[in-house]
Amino acid sequence: MFFVKDLHHTILLHPSYFGSRMHQHIEQKLHADVEGTCSGEYGYIIAVLDVIDVGVGLVSVGNGQAEFVTTYRAIVFKPFKGEVLDSVVTSVNKMGFFAEVGPLQVFVSAHLVHPDMKYDSAAANACFASADQVIEKDTHVRLKLVGTRVDATEIFAIGTIKEDHLGVID
């Protein structure tokens, strides 16, 4: 799910940047620091929409760097267990298939694919196929997340399509 969220970020600014363009510099650094990152708490920070407040710089004793606690508004994407999402299949193998929901990687195990759909290794593209449906690379699939795992740089999820109203979508 995408959210609009107000977040805080602490920026340490080298004294060389102190000056008239300091605020611009802080904002640039904020964008560079947070966009595209991921945390367990907030999920992926997709884009900063607005810098609300850069705060008051506090010069730390010893090295002369200024510490700004900034407040900004961002679009975040956080997957939840139990959430139903549309995804694009990226790869298929006999163990299941991988799909992407934006930045999120989801693996759907072959156990959690409907039993009618069999893995077909003979086809040109590896796929799961039933009489009327095929799941191969770039297929759009509606899936439900059954578990998520947050790493330092990314979130990984496992999903299922073995329920009503899940599976291949047009």
Binding site: S91, N93, K94, M95, F98, Q105, F107, S109, H111, L112, A126, V146, G147, T148, R149, E154, F156, A157, I158, T160
Partner: protein, 456 residues
């Protein structure tokens, strides 16, 4: 109202459920309840008919009382109560408890009436099946989630959430981090093996119940009013048991219901009494002395017999005696029928012509006379064969007197009745009422004998 087919579906459902999930003890008890309750349902449509309470209806119309249930399933009452308690806790069986007074003066006893409320039974079973299914489904999913992958080479286990980094560059398989061997599904775990077909087995084993439930969805199960049923049951019981069944702590509705029925019963009693009265009246009229016994047909005055009948208590006994003697006549009539036959036979042998004419002469007379004639004809036989000599002697004088009267009025022969009455009247001053009755009879009989002799 559920049809017979619906009932068998419901019954089947109970049987399937009990056999699938309960011990034989429970099965037996539940079977009894279905059996009983089907009967209850069977007469449920009649509703009010049950109120009139014929015994046959009572026989089938019964919420099973738990002590009776114990008797039926042949288990100790305590054990049955345990079974029922369990079934009640499982919401399969409902128990309606109330205080009942078994006999006057005894403390009210708490009685439980067990029954199956089919609509709630179906709902309970439905819910159970669904819960079971979702529980197994969830478990299965979790196990599959955690099933993960294993390296057949080094035995290292990977959870499904670990697989992202294990994908080999070609994207076709997962590679063990340690030994670069291809991973396989971790299907060896016992829990996985067991759970794999658990859902399938559940579905296969509960298939019957699910089918039954689907069938019951199409049935509108009639609502059950326990109070009402029990009220009716109590009434029915009242009729069965001489000591009755009083109910303590019952609602006013059932009480009024009961009273109502008692009223209808009273009415029945009254009707019966009335009918009996009518029969008795008819009998009394039948037994009453003919008018000509009580009242002179000539003068219109009361005869001594009539005076005695309508008179005081003192003559009552005599009147009763007289009644008794008249009562006895039909019996004697039968008794002497054979004698009569013999008499006719003798008549026939003497002269067939005269025998043929005899009925004709009698036919001129009234039917009443015919009847009396028969009575009279007995007497020669009884007088000759059975009557003690003393009685014969006692009546001899009277007979003589009657004969004289007869001679005095020869034309009176044609009509026997007036003549007889007259003679009775003549005799009355001298004899008692009872004697007079006997005299009248004897006299008349003498007359008829004379008649026949005349004919002959």
């Amino acid at each position: 109202m559920a049809t017979a087919e619906d009932k068998s579906v419901l019954r089947l459902l109970v049987q399937h459920v009990s056999r699938a999930f309960y011990d034989s003890k429970f099965v037996v008890v539940l079977d009894q309840l279905t059996h009983q309750d089907m009967c209850v349902r069977a007469c449920g449509g009649e509703g009010r008919v049950v109120l009139t309470g014929t015994v046959t209806v009572v026989g089938v119309f019964r919420r099973v009382k738990d002590d009776e249930l114990a008797h039926r399933v042949g288990m100790p009452s305590k054990e049955v109560q345990k079974v029922i308690a369990k079934l009640e806790a499982d919401r399969l069986v409902k128990v309606h408890r109330r205080n009942e007074i078994q006999r006057e003066g005894q403390r009210p006893m708490n009685k439980g009436y067990c029954y199956i409320d089919y609509s709630s039974f179906c709902n309970v079973v439905k819910w159970r099946i669904t819960t079971m299914r979702s529980a197994i489904d969830n478990k299965l999913r979790n196990e599959l989630d955690n099933q993960g992958y294993i390296c057949p080479n080094c035995g290292k286990y990977y959870a499904p959430l670990d697989v992202l980094h294990l994908l080999d560059p070609s994207g076709t398989a997962f590679i063990c981090e340690v030994c670069r061997h291809e991973l396989i599904n971790n299907e060896n775990a016992e829990s996985v093996q067991g759970s794999k077909d658990r859902l399938q087995r559940l579905m296969a084993q509960t298939r019957w119940i699910i089918e039954d439930l689907q069938k019951t969805d199409e049935i509108t199960i009639p609502k059950l009013n326990v109070q009402q049923w029990l009220a009716e049951h109590a009434v029915a019981k009242l009729e069965l048991d001489s000591d009755g069944l009083a109910i303590a702590g019952e609602g006013s509705t059932s009480q009024s219901n009961r009273v109502q029925i008692e009223l209808s019963l009273d009415q029945d009693d009254a009707q019966v009494k009335k009918a009996r009265e009518q029969v008795a009246d008819a009998q009394r009229q039948h037994n009453a002395l003919p008018e000509w016994h009580l009242r002179s047909t000539i003068s219109g005055d009361l005869t001594s017999l009539g005076a005695a009948t309508s008179g005081g208590a003192t003559s009552g006994t005599a009147a009763v005696h007289a009644n008794g003697s008249t009562d006895r006549k039909p019996e004697q009539n039968e008794l002497y029928a054979s004698d009569l036959d013999r008499y006719y036979a003798s008549l026939n042998t003497s002269a067939s012509e005269s025998a043929n004419r005899t009925p004709e002469t009698d036919g001129d007379e009234e039917d009443d006379d015919d009847f009396e004639e028969i009575e009279f004809m007995e007497y020669p036989a009884s007088g000759g064969g059975r009557t003690p000599a003393s009685t014969a002697d006692a009546s001899a004088g009277l007979n003589g007197h009657a004969k004289r009267g007869r001679e005095e009025d020869p034309r009176g022969v044609r009509n026997g009745r007036p003549a007889k009455q007259a003679r009775v009247e003549d005799a009355a001053p001298a004899a008692a009422a009872a004697a007079a009755a006997a005299a009248a009879a004897n006299a008349a009989e003498e007359d008829d004998e004379d008649d026949f002799e005349e004919v002959a």
